[in-house]
Amino acid sequence: MRNLHEVKAGQRAVIVDVQGSSRFLSRATSIGLTRGLEIEMLHNEARLPLLLFGRDTVIALNREDGQQIQVEVVA
């Protein structure tokens, strides 16, 4: 298991857990980042937000917030 921001571009991963304040949980889940969702990391570059694809949507996510999402890499 690792944090979302450690997933390399091109890798696919399944979200195992999301942590943080209920405010963050609510924000992250309302855009679709919930347990069991398989995402694909599109960009993971220093100084840019994470860019991932899940639920048919390209989602930009603040890097620091990516540390609060645990994933299991699948490929």
């Binding site: 942590q19 840019l48 989602i59 930009a60």
Partner: protein
Amino acid sequence: MTSTAGAEASIALLGQPNSGKSTLFNALTGARQRVGNWPGKTVEKKEGYYTRAGVHYHVADLPGTYSLSANSEEEIITRDHIASGGADVVCILADSSQLSRSLFMLADYAGIRCPAVLLLNLMDVAEKQGKQVDAAELEKRLGIPVVPFVAADLRQYEPFHEAVERALKQKTLIDTGSLTAKYRALEGQVYEQVLALLPAEGLGRYSADWIAAKLLEGDQAVQAAVEEQLSAEKKHELRTFLSQVSNGALETAGAKFQWVDELLDGVLVQSGKKAALSRFDRLATHRRWGKPLAILIILLGLIASFFPAAPIMLAGGMIPQLGAPIGAALSAIGAPQLLIDLMSQVVLNTLYFAVAMIGFVFGVNLVFGFLEEIGYMARVSYVFDGTMTRLGLQGKAVMPLVVSFGCTIGGAAGTRVIDSWAQRVLTIALAWVVPCAATWAIVPVIASLFFGAWAPLVIVAIFVVAGLHMLVTAKVFGSRLIRDEDRAGLIMELPPYHRPRWGALLRSILVRTWDILSRALRIIFIVSLVFWLVTYSAGGSPDGSLLYRFGRAIEPVTMFFGLTWQTFLAYISSMVSKEAALGVLGSLYLGAGSIFSSTLGGSGPQMATGLSEALLASLSAPAALAFIFAVTFNAPCLMAITSTYQETRSLKWTLRILAYYFATSLLLAAIVYHVAGLFL
């Protein structure tokens, strides 16, 4: 809701960002809309109405939010509006091209006892992606009208209207049975335990089922409202129980998406699959090329905005030429000279200013509205997020800031693509710092006159000060505009690109432009009139005017800021038109022409013959520097101030920004003057 005058109904539009709410709102209401702020809030409120089959429909465009939690002012407003009975029917918009994600709003709404309609918008985009949606089946599963829809296509509104009428008549509520079953299945039976503590009838429009889910999510506002209805004992029990629940929002969201996925099973059919990022998108979001590309596109956009603007501005530029014939006609019928002056100077100049400004605002709105509409601005937001959040802005704010190098009016108008009102005001406040093109028409002339080869150093100093100015201004205005809890890290969607809907885009821009023109005319007229009165002098030379006498009288004060009475008056005039600073200096130092006509007459930033000598003879180098800084960091011009008022729609904030720039530019002038005095 029925009155003697005729039937009335209220509709609220609810949807996540990019779901097409504004397009629908504009199509429904056309020019019959009013934009303001929610009472006491820094969030924009859009209302309008339309009439159909004798029914008067009020439409409220609720702020675009991802959910109905209480995470931001926008979400609280949205929820309160529905809960307080502000709507008879809620139209929930979903993006059909990203259905599973965007139906989260529907899941979050389910359990609120207000009739609803589901609009599957952007159906055309979904079809192009190979997606088919069985709306009839979805309607059966949900129990509310479901309409496949393209909000930008006016020919498709019949089913929408029928669905709204049906929802109103049948009071259609979402069937929540299968959703609550998911909640009940949550680990530890937390849901049922909370539910047992709640009044079974719920609270107003909130059903007990909905409240229970929100309590698990840690929703403070809902908890406070519920506790008011509970006995002390039950309240204590509820608190104790909720304090043990962790990750509630994650659990309920899981349940909501399971429900959505079940709803869509067999309803949504996808054939073929496209890459997540197109080739263009790989470039647009590239770590190295994304930013230069964005700047390039913004600059091209700035240039492009002159094409639709030019004919309008050109037409506006011809207005002052009417002065002579109108003046002749007026004097032929024996009108007094004062009236003729007023007509040819104030009225015509007001028209000229307003039309020229409108032309540019229209161009900027069209071009950048287009970039927003097709989805590109979200990419700009992504690549500039890191840079702009340091100023407390969102990534998109880079566009108005870059445009402001050309013209602050365009910068202010360009903030329209920023969806939060508070963010928009903050962006405008910062855009005023950016030295516009007119600055470069004045500063180098004076700088090279006084500092010769050292002039470039003055330019460098201006940029350094502008940078620091932005940091300070961001702090000053940011702390008042944006609540700390609203400063959250970026979580946003980059919507799929889609072809522009020119009709819808033009319609919404024309409605806004017309609104702006009528208001701009009033402001510009009043300010021009006041300026004309204080600069009016019977003889035509400046020394007969009120402003002249005022400037002379307070010279002892302005000298503290390094401004002589002449440079101070030029500084005051530069708030009306920055290019005018040199012309006004010319009329003051050389005693030729009135201040009014050199400010508004459009003579341009030329040095009048003999002005260089006059300036060198009467200004010290520190005083020249003080003047440069005062004018550069002063309010940009009357039209930028007007444009700021249009976009903020707040006289209070416009005046605050104006006062702030007036004070800070004088302060900067004073610092520059006294510090330079030590060396020069």
